[in-house]
């Protein structure tokens, strides 16, 4: 055993200790991150849609919740609002969605042909529209105004022209417009 060897093993020990410390810090960072995601998911209920629902895109216009007369916003009996929309090359129907401010809103949407996406700018509303499946997204707007709603997923050559709009209006205005029943969109406003 030479002095060199002793020195070598001592430095190896130092190295191993420093490595362990760093590895521990790295693991803690990751556990905290995953923990935060779990907390936000469970406590704040910000989780993806729990159920997988399917629908036949070639029959959307014939029957079911996505027939044309059912597209748009509707005020439910409990004061919530439900919006139905579809995406197709290269537009959304309705092209402009009208909703009230400060109200729980459920967006239910699907695609009639290829994959599209709905993104409402300046909000966290962001979901994919995959043909054959129904996307459900909960939303709530705290400010009135007009928001742009581009298609966020490539859907072939016309993708860049596929921009919808969301009009967030006053609660009582919306209630007045919804009085007659039926589905609302920005049309006629």
């Amino acid at each position: 055993m030479t002095a060199q060897d002793t020195h070598g093993s001592a430095s190896a020990e130092v190295a191993a200790r420093v490595e362990r410390r760093w590895a521990t810090i790295a693991v803690i960072i990751i556990v905290v991150m995953a923990g935060l995601a779990a907390f936000a998911g469970i406590h704040r209920a910000t989780m993806p849609q729990p159920r997988v629902e399917i629908t036949d895109p070639s029959r959307l216009h014939l029957s079911g919740e996505f027939v044309e007369s059912n597209l748009g916003s509707v005020l439910e009996a409990n004061g919530n609002v439900t919006v139905h929309a579809i995406g197709q090359q290269y537009s959304f129907t309705p092209a402009c969605i009208v909703v009230p401010v400060d109200t729980p809103i459920t967006l239910r949407a699907t695609s009639a042909d290829v994959v599209h996406g709905i993104l409402i700018q300046s909000t966290n509303v962001n979901t994919m529209l995959v043909p054959g499946y129904i996307s459900e997204q909960l939303m709530r707007f705290s400010k009135t105004g007009d928001y742009l709603m581009p298609c966020q997923e490539f859907c072939s050559f016309g993708h860049e022209g596929m921009w919808g709009k969301v009009k967030v209006i006053d609660k009582t205005d919306f209630a007045n417009r919804a009085k007659g029943g039926g589905r609302l969109s920005c049309v006629g406003q």
């Binding site: 070598g8 430095s11 190896a12 190295a15 420093v18 490595e19 760093w22 590895a23 790295a26 693991v27 960072i29 990751i30 991150m33 935060l36 995601a37 936000a40 998911g41 910000t46 989780m47 993806p48 849609q49 729990p50 159920r51 997988v52 629902e53 399917i54 895109p57 070639s58 090359q89 042909d113 290829v114 994959v115 996406g117 993104l119 300046s122 909000t123 966290n124 509303v125 962001n126 979901t127 994919m128 995959v130 043909p131 054959g132 499946y133 129904i134 996307s135 007009d146 742009l148 581009p150 298609c151 966020q152 997923e153 490539f154 859907c155 072939s156 050559f157 016309g158 993708h159 860049e160």
Partner: protein, 540 residues
Amino acid sequence: MLVNRKLILAHFWLAFVVFGIALTLGAWQMFIRSPIGTWLSNPELYYRSLTAHGTVMGYVFPTLVAMGFGYAISESALQQRLVGVRWAWAGFWLIVIGSVMAVIPIALGRASVLYTFYPPLIGNVFYYLGVVLVVVGSWIWVALMSINLRVWRKANPGAPVPLAMFANVAGSYLWAWTAVGAALELLLQIIPAAAGLKATIDAGLARVFFSWTLHAIVYFWLMPTYIAYYTIVPRAIGGRVYSDSMARISFILFLVVAMPIGMHHTFADPQVGAGFKFIHSAFTALVALPTLLTVFTICASVEIAARLRGGRGMFGWIKALPWDNPMMLALAFSFVMLGFGGAGGLINMSYQLDASIHNTQWITGHFHLIFGGAIVIMYFAIAYDLWPHLTGRELIDLRLIRTQLWLWFIGMIVTTFPWHWVGILGMPRRMAYFDFGDPAIAPQALSVTFSAIGGFILLASGIMFIVILARGMRALQVDAGPYRFALAVHEPKTVPVALNTHALWVALMIALTLTNYGYPILNLALSSGTSVPAVYVGAQ
């Protein structure tokens, strides 16, 4: 001991030529979608270009670099002639044929489906067959790496596998397995539809198959870069690897946890339930671990070099680093971009934060920082380091090399930072143009312009890179000596079996993939009524 230099050079040259073409397309795309070049009236050209850019940058370029570098590692780390040279050439030619086969339908506008395919959009069948040939060609390389290691093991029973080769083979296995997802999607779903055998396709299932490939492929791109961090950089700057076993653990972790995380690409998709999304989110967090370990080990290795050069003090050693050495510069730039890109990645990994940036320009910014930034700049460094050994000629113009690296770094920052910003504002990605006349979009015009300028800086840097290599083919002849890899501070005399073989980790990788993907895939495959009509590109 580099015997098959022609083979390796062929891979590198083809890689860099296609890279140059794809880079030019990228800069052109940046230009025509910005307010400074709004002359394009036919967005179809944009999507052809985007498909070619993505297909080359995603599949062809990194695969060729990994293969060429892998052959170089196999010969020089194992000190053994490459076994199966003829097969290696066959793999190379398969990639050439596959690339040409894929590019023709793209150029004709019959395959504008981008490199992520987007079923039920279906392009020309030859595009997909071309991609399959590229992958099959690379699988030959995977087999050869495994065989060469086995031959070496027989000749050196029980000896520690050189770190570079251990990592190289881990990378090849990762690629072999991650490519299976896209292969299943292509063979079972897309190609039958493209060939007209089927008229419908389950778009949701296809997206899940693709997500299997879509994230681990990034770690396959990353492998040559990490091999360079551990086994080239410390030697090139006169230092040593801080820890050999830490390096092995990092590569093993990539192999095991990089695979089963891809579903975070479907966070906003309706066909995957919340539970599996959460599992994949947690695994995505876990894959930060090997990178955090690497950052530590490489910083420590670099510190050793600095202190050997007389560096002192808590931070004073940083000054003592050989900053005029291109390898040092490349490493520093790569780490900075990896830092920003990685932080962005951790944000993408969280379902809650992802909702605000999903499919926006933020994502484009993130993966360009990681791939185009952190990864590709080390590909440059690898080429510079290997070139004299491959050509037998010296690369003399270090100043030009440093300028090239600086330009790449600046270009990448100027391109990607504005993308992150407009992404937060909600600018969607993959747009051929924007209506900057719309008052809601007009404020983003400046950011898009900056990105376009960044694109041209990158193009200039890429051209310089190719010129430097080409000039290196005609420079003075030198004897570069044998190609060496960095030594560890404590060279391993024996390595535990678990850190010297891959079998256990490959088994874990497969098992984790099956648990993380098996149920969702089976569930989708068995449910009926989810197939939708295929939409053929270019068929009017």
